[in-house]
Amino acid sequence: MKRSPFLWIMALVGFVFLYAPILSLVVYSFNESRLVTVWSGFSTKWYGELLRDPQILGAAWISLKVAVASATISLVLGTMASLVLVRYGRFRFRELFSGMTTAPLVMPDVITGISLLLLFVTMESLFGWPAGRGLLTIIIAHTTFCMAYVAVVVETRLINVDRSVEEAAADLGARPLRIFFDVTLPSIAPALVSGWLLAFTLSLDDLVIASFVAGPGSTTLPMLIFSKVRLGVSPDVNALATILIALVAIGIAISAFVMTRTGRSPEADT
């Protein structure tokens, strides 16, 4: 069948609309000029500048630590939540629990940020923990919303896992914990990988929530970029943003690859 040229044009317009800004950012990150909007030749000097800036490197390190920690914690909690939702059968308030698990997906970041800030302040004044705002509070905050994404991703996979395979393991002498590690975990592993990567990238690019719950000395990368841009866009921010885009793109590509590849093979011919 011959596709109409109209579809091609629509696709082109859509992609240009989505990716032209990002492309121009990537292009200008290789600009030699100090003025962001004036092209004066190809150069990678802003990337070099970036690596010599201790402030940026520090912020990047903090962001990385936060992203790894919150992705890992939300992976554990999100998987547990999805196990309850899929495996516990019917229980009272199941629908409510299901809704509440996924609510952070649609909650505006500003509200999540304010509510968490209020909670942390109240908790500190009541039992002195967490003491002040910093790395820990950002990790907790990011975990709360990343967990919802992990739960949704793992739940989708878990629904499709054949229960009789777990029953077969039980029948052959495996106890519940053993069954989980021998059978359930390998079956949902692709979803765990992509859930973790999704949480990692979400945490990495969060600005709003981090701004609310961060303290002195715990500036994440997006916060730093934002504050730099307010003083005028400098070319090294372009370079930094390009690196971030590359990181996120790689993460998403890997998770998509893992999901499609392993999602297909076992059920392929049945």
Partner: protein
């Protein structure tokens, strides 16, 4: 199979101690009663078939034996031990699932060995036993393959090997052959019987395929709506069904409805309006006068001829309406004057008959008094 043993050796006939005892077992799912007050004894070395259409509760009963489903009320004993509160991983049973439920991320060898490792069997012994089992189910050369690289028949054999490797006292099979095509299914049926005899394990097989049940089973339990309608050997189930459901479910049958005209211990006369005849049966029935009865006649029992036969108790006249040629046999559909149909089969022993009975021929259908069975429900 039961023909090989003399009747007195059959454990369900000589009062042996049953191996599996199911006593008044029920299972409800909310308001739905899946298994309703079932009692059943299964003997050591049996190949017992639970036969029924889908949703009759047969799989639920099997899963209760494996411990995968809880018992709402009643008691299950295996080898004298009460199974209440015993988890599936502690039961002396293994189950083979309809979907086979192979571990998708493990190869054939590891799938089969899984149960032994869970029991802490030493590695060298596991290797030997798995190798023997792979030979038994004829999967040599497939050891390193993953389930998605196997054909349906090979997966079926991996599943069987995996459930046999722990030498369970009781092997439960849920529709073991349903996913195979007809040819492979017939071969595997005999293979299954051979393995069962070789290992002496007690099998309980769930199936909806009555032919499969007849081929495999030492005894068959026919289930409907969570209740067992009849438990008997294949021959008895076929020739002496207890009620209309069983008669109709196993094989095909011509059913005549009528009213009892006369009965004594070795003779019953049934006045049958829809065939406009009185059917003569050579056995007695316990029933009240004028009770409604059914007479069941298997299609291979009656004779068909152009001339009225002599000396046969039951003769009825009709017209051949349909002939279906099936190769090994032909099915004749005869319509009586009253409009009732009788189906009957003839084996095609000769390759060409001289004057075969054909469409629209006027024929007589006849059977002697011992050919059919009277049913009261």
């Amino acid at each position: 199979m039961n023909d090989r043993q003399s009747p007195s050796e059959l454990p369900w006939r000589n009062g042996s101690e049953p191996f599996v005892r199911i006593v008044d077992v029920s299972r409800n799912f909310g308001p739905v009663v899946a298994v309703n007050n079932v009692s059943l004894d299964i003997y050591k070395g049996e190949l017992f078939c639970l036969l029924g259409s889908s949703g009759c509760g047969k799989t639920t009963l099997l899963r209760m034996l494996a411990g995968l489903e809880t018992v709402s009320s009643g008691r299950i004993e295996i080898d004298g031990q009460d199974m209440a509160g015993i988890s599936p991983w502690d039961r002396p049973t293994n189950i083979m699932f309809q979907s086979y439920a192979l571990f998708p991320h493990m190869n054939v060898e590891r799938n089969i060995a899984y149960g032994l490792y869970r029991d802490g069997v030493p590695r060298s012994e596991v290797t030997d036993r798995v190798a023997d089992m792979i030979k038994l189910v004829q999967l040599s050369g497939m050891e390193r393959r993953k389930p998605d690289q196997l054909s349906g028949g090979q997966r079926q054999r991996v599943a069987l090997a995996r459930s046999l490797i722990k030498r369970p006292k009781l092997l439960l099979l849920d529709e073991p052959l349903a996913a195979l095509d007809k040819k492979l299914r017939e071969e595997t049926q005999f293979e299954l019987v051979n393995i069962q005899e070789k290992l002496g394990v007690t099998f309980v097989v769930v199936t909806h395929d009555q032919e499969e049940a007849m081929t495999l089973a030492t005894r068959i339990g026919v289930m409907r709506n969570g209740v067992i309608e009849q438990v008997a050997e294949p021959r008895e189930i076929y020739e002496y069904p207890l009620n209309r459901f069983v008669a109709d479910f196993i094989g095909s049958v011509n059913m005549f409805e009528g009213v009892v005209a006369e009965t004594d211990p070795d003779r019953t006369l049934i006045r049958c309006e829809d065939a406009d005849m009185t059917i003569n049966v050579s056995h007695g029935v316990s029933c009240s006068p004028n009770q409604r009865l059914w007479f069941a006649l298997r299609p291979e029992k009656p004779e068909i001829s152009r001339q009225r036969p002599d000396g046969v108790e039951n003769v009825v006249e009709g017209v051949v309406e349909e002939i279906a040629y099936r190769g090994n046999l032909s099915i004749f559909r005869v319509r009586l004057k009253t409009g009732k149909q009788i189906d009957l089969t003839r084996t095609n022993q000769e390759r060409s008959a001289e004057e075969p009975i054909t469409w629209d021929d006027n024929v007589f259908v006849s059977w002697d008094a011992a050919s059919g069975v009277v049913l009261t429900s």
